[in-house]
C-alpha cells in the first residue's frame, strides 16, 4: 500500500510505517532548519560587524584601565585603603615609584589625562611632577614630593585618583549626565556653566521635534496631492520627491551652503528684490536656522513616502460619502480622511525623528556652534579631545533613546512594513 495507511493500532502512518505525527514534525524541523541556514550567514555577519563593535563601545563607557594598568602600586594601595584625607607616606611612596615607571614607559601623560577628565589641571601636574622626580631618590617621599609640588596635598585629587584606580567606572556616565563628584567623592550636579550635555540632549530633541513637525506640515499636503492626482501626473511629481532622496547627502548640504551663505544666492536675491539692504544680509547659516532648514529638506522625502503609501490606500469614496451625507469639507477631512492617515503620520514622524536625533554630517557643516547636535559632541570627543570613555557614554545614552524609539516604531508600524521609494 502506498500513501497514508491505517496501522493496526489505528495510528495514521506514512508509506514506510512512521507515524504521520513524527513525519510531520520531521518535515517541519527540516523546513525550519532550511530557513535558519539561509539567514544564519547574514546574522553572523551583522553580529560581527555591528553588534560586537557596539557592544565593545558600550563596554568602554564603563571600563577604563589606563590608571590601574600604569600605576599598579598606587592602585593597589587605593583599592585597599579608602581615601578620607590626604594619605600618608605609603601612598606617596607608591605614587612616586609608579610615576617614575610611567615616565620611563612614557605613559604618565595618559594617566594624567585620565585624572584630568575629573579634575582640571591634572595633566600638567602629572607631566611636570614626572619631569622633576629624579630629585626624589628615597624616603621620606611625602615630604619631598610636597616640597616639590604642593598641589599633591589636595583631598579632591586623591578621591579622583581613587575612583580612577578602579577599572570599572561610572564616572563617564556621570559626566555625560552633567554630574560630578565633589572633593569628598559624593555625586553632585556639575556647576551651572558646565552643564552642557543636558542642554545638548535637550536641544537635539527639540530640534528633531521641530524638524519632524516642519516635515509633517510640508509633507502632508504634498503626499495628499500625490496620492489623489491621476497616476500620469503623480509619477512625474514623484520624481521631484525622489531625486533629492537619491542625491548625495553632501551634495544637498553643499547646495544649502551655496544658497544660505551671506554672499549666497538667497541673500543676493533678497538684496536684489530689496527686502534687506546690502549691509543687512541675514545670517541663515552656521546657526540653528541652518541646521533646521537643511535637515528639513533632507528629511522631507522620509515623511512624504510613508504618508503617500498610506494615503494611497484610503478609498476616495469615504470622503465623498461623508460630503453627500451633509458633512462640510472641514468635517469630512477631520472626521473621515485624517483619522485614516494617522498610521502614515506616525510612521513618518517617528522615522524622521529617529534619523534626526542621531544626525551628524549636516549640523557639522551648516550648524555653526549653536546648531550642533549630540552626535557632533560624540565625534568631537572621538576625534579631537580623545576622551573615548565619555564619547562612548554619550553614544550609549543616544543609542538607548534611539532603540526605544525603534521599538516604538516596530510596535506601531512594524519593521517589515517599511517601504523604500
Amino acid at each position: 500500500m502506498d500513501g497514508t495507511s491505517d496501522a493496526p493500532d489505528g495510528l495514521l502512518t506514512t508509506g514506510d510505517g512512521t507515524p504521520l505525527k513524527t513525519a510531520l514534525a520531521r518535515a517541519t524541523r527540516r523546513a525550519k532548519l532550511k530557513a535558519v541556514v539561509l539567514v544564519l550567514p547574514l546574522l553572523l555577519f551583522v553580529l560581527v560587524t555591528f553588534a560586537v563593535p557596539i557592544g565593545q563601545m558600550l563596554y568602554l563607557s564603563v571600563y577604563s584601565p589606563v590608571f590601574a594598568d600604569n600605576m599598579p602600586r598606587l592602585s593597589a594601595y587605593l583599592m585597599a585603603n579608602p581615601v578620607t584625607e590626604v594619605p600618608g607616606e605609603a601612598a606617596f611612596e607608591a605614587l612616586v615609584l609608579d610615576l617614575k615607571d610611567a615616565r620611563k614607559n612614557r605613559t604618565h601623560a595618559q594617566v594624567g589625562t585620565r585624572v584630568n577628565y575629573e579634575k582640571a589641571g591634572s595633566t600638567s601636574l602629572f607631566k611636570s611632577t614626572a619631569r622633576r622626580l629624579r630629585k626624589i631618590d628615597g624616603p621620606p617621599y611625602k615630604e619631598k614630593l610636597l616640597a616639590l609640588k604642593p598641589a599633591w596635598d589636595d583631598l579632591h585629587l586623591w578621591t579622583v585618583m581613587e575612583r580612577a584606580a578602579h577599572r570599572h567606572t561610572l564616572s563617564f556616565y556621570a559626566s555625560a549626565l552633567d554630574l560630578g563628584y565633589d572633593a569628598k567623592g559624593d555625586l553632585v550636579r556639575a556647576p551651572e556653566e558646565r552643564r552642557i550635555y543636558g542642554l545638548l540632549f535637550q536641544r537635539t530633541l527639540l530640534l528633531s521635534a521641530l524638524i519632524a513637525g516642519l516635515c509633517l506640515l510640508l509633507g502632508y499636503p504634498v503626499a495628499h496631492l500625490l496620492a489623489n492626482l491621476p497616476l500620469k501626473y503623480s509619477n512625474l511629481l514623484m520624481v521631484l520627491v525622489l531625486l533629492p532622496f537619491w542625491t548625495s547627502l553632501l551634495v544637498r548640504t553643499t547646495s544649502w551652503i551655496t544658497l544660505l551663505q551671506s554672499q549666497g544666492v538667497l541673500n543676493d536675491l533678497m538684496v536684489w528684490i530689496g527686502i534687506v539692504g546690502d549691509d543687512g544680509r541675514i545670517q541663515l547659516m552656521y546657526n540653528q536656522a541652518g541646521t533646521v532648514i537643511a535637515m528639513t529638506h533632507i528629511m522631507l522625502p522620509f515623511m512624504i513616502l510613508p504618508l503617500y503609501s498610506v494615503m494611497k490606500t484610503v478609498p476616495k469614496d469615504f470622503v465623498r460619502a461623508a460630503r453627500s451625507l451633509g458633512a462640510g469639507p472641514v468635517t469630512a477631512f477631520v472626521r473621515v480622511y485624517f483619522p485614516q492617515t494617522v498610521p502614515g503620520i506616525g510612521a513618518g514622524v517617528l522615522l524622521v525623528f529617529i534619523i534626526s536625533v542621531g544626525y551628524y554630517i549636516t549640523p557639522a557643516l551648516v550648524g555653526g556652534s549653536s546648531g550642533q547636535l549630540i552626535s557632533n559632541q560624540i565625534a568631537f570627543h572621538m576625534l579631537q579631545s580623545l576622551n573615548w570613555g565619555l564619547a562612548a557614554a554619550l553614544g550609549a545614552l543616544l543609542l538607548g533613546g534611539v532603540l526605544l524609539l525603534y521599538w516604538l516604531y516596530d510596535r506601531l508600524v512594524g519593521v517589515d512594513n517599511m517601504k523604500l521609494g
Binding site: 531625486l243 529638506h297 572621538m382 521609494g421
Partner: protein, 303 residues
C-alpha cells in the same frame, strides 16, 4: 480631482492655496539641487550668479572648475595635455583617486550585502522561520542606529582587529550599512511571490538550486537589483564611517567633499556635486524602470 461645479467660494480659495502651497514645497525640494548645476559653470570663484551669468553672456561660464577637479593633486598639471598628462591625472588626481576608491568600495560592499541579504530575505520570508520578527529587527537596525554610533563602535573594534585603514574594513562596514536596504526591498518583492511555483518546479524534477536560478531569481530580480542600488548608494554616499576608519589611501568622494567644504570651499565642489547629481538621476531612472517591470510582471499595471 477637479472641484465639482457646486464648490463654495471658501473651497475654491482653499484649493488655490493648497495648490500654491504644494508647488512651493516642490520648489523647496528641487531648487537647491537645480541651482547647483549652472553655478558649477561659473567663471568666477563665487557661489552666486554673476552679472555675466544672469545675462547669459558666454564669458560668465567656463569649465574651469571641472578642469580643477581633474588637475587637483597632479604633479605637473600645466604641461601640454598628451598621454603623459593623462597618465599623471589617472595616477595622481585626488578626485580621480577618490572616485576610484568610491567605486571599488561601493561595488565590493554591494556584492557582499546583496548576496547575504538576498539569502537572508529568502529565509525570512519563509513562514517556518523562528524568531522572525526579532531577527528582522536586528538585521534592519544598522539603518536606524545613528551612523556616529556604528562608526564609533567600528573604530574601537577595527583598531583591535587590525582592520583600521584597510579596504576590507571599509567594505565590510559599508556592506553592513547596506544590508537593511537589500532585506527590505527583497522581502517586499517576496510578499507577492507565489510559493506554489516552487512546488511546481520541484514536482517537475528541478533541484533546489535549479529552482532558485530558473524560477525564484528571475521573479525577485527587480527587488534584488533595487536593493543592490540602495546598498551601492549607501556606500557611495557614506562619510562618517570613512571619516573614522579610513586613511588617506582609502579617501572616497564624500570624504573628499567633506574635507573640501570644511577647509577651503571652492566651486570645484559644485562641479563634483553636479556630476553626482547626474549620477543619481541615472540611478533613479534605472530604479523607476525596474519598478515598472515588477508591476508588469505581477500584472498590476495594464500598460
Amino acid at each position: 480631482m477637479a472641484l465639482p461645479p457646486h464648490a463654495t467660494l471658501f473651497e475654491r480659495i482653499w484649493r488655490r492655496f493648497y495648490l500654491v502651497f504644494c508647488a512651493a514645497v516642490f520648489v523647496f525640494l528641487i531648487a537647491p539641487i537645480i541651482v547647483i548645476l549652472p553655478l558649477s559653470f561659473n567663471a568666477e570663484p563665487y557661489f552666486t550668479f554673476t552679472r555675466e551669468m544672469l545675462s547669459l553672456d558666454p564669458a560668465g561660464f567656463s569649465l574651469r572648475w571641472y578642469d580643477r577637479l581633474l588637475t587637483y593633486g597632479m604633479t605637473a598639471p600645466e604641461v601640454a595635455r598628451d598621454t603623459a598628462w593623462w597618465l599623471d591625472a589617472w595616477a595622481n588626481s585626488q578626485w580621480l583617486h577618490a572616485a576610484k576608491n568610491s567605486f571599488l568600495i561601493g561595488i565590493a560592499s554591494t556584492l557582499v550585502a546583496t548576496t547575504l541579504g538576498t539569502l537572508a530575505a529568502l529565509g525570512l520570508s519563509r513562514p517556518e522561520m523562528p524568531f522572525r520578527r526579532a531577527v528582522m529587527a536586528l538585521l534592519i537596525s544598522p539603518m536606524i542606529v545613528p551612523m556616529i554610533i556604528s562608526a564609533t563602535g567600528l573604530f574601537f573594534f577595527y583598531s583591535k582587529a587590525g582592520l583600521a585603514h584597510t579596504y576590507i574594513g571599509i567594505v565590510l562596514a559599508h556592506a553592513m550599512l547596506g544590508i537593511p536596504f537589500v532585506i527590505i526591498t527583497v522581502t517586499a518583492t517576496l510578499v507577492g511571490f507565489d510559493r506554489s511555483l516552487i512546488h511546481a518546479a520541484a514536482s517537475l524534477g528541478a533541484t533546489p538550486v535549479e529552482t532558485f536560478r530558473k524560477v525564484i531569481l528571475p521573479l525577485i530580480l527587480p527587488g534584488v537589483i533595487s536593493g543592490a542600488l540602495f546598498a551601492f548608494v549607501t556606500s557611495f554616499d557614506e562619510v562618517v564611517v570613512v571619516l573614522f576608519i579610513a586613511s588617506y589611501d582609502q579617501q572616497t568622494i564624500p570624504l573628499q567633499m567633506w574635507n573640501g567644504i570644511r577647509e577651503q570651499i571652492s566651486p570645484a565642489i559644485l562641479a563634483a556635486a553636479t556630476i553626482l547629481i547626474i549620477f543619481s538621476m541615472a540611478l533613479l531612472t534605472t530604479l523607476e524602470l525596474l519598478r515598472r517591470r515588477t508591476e508588469r510582471l505581477r500584472g498590476l499595471a495594464p500598460d
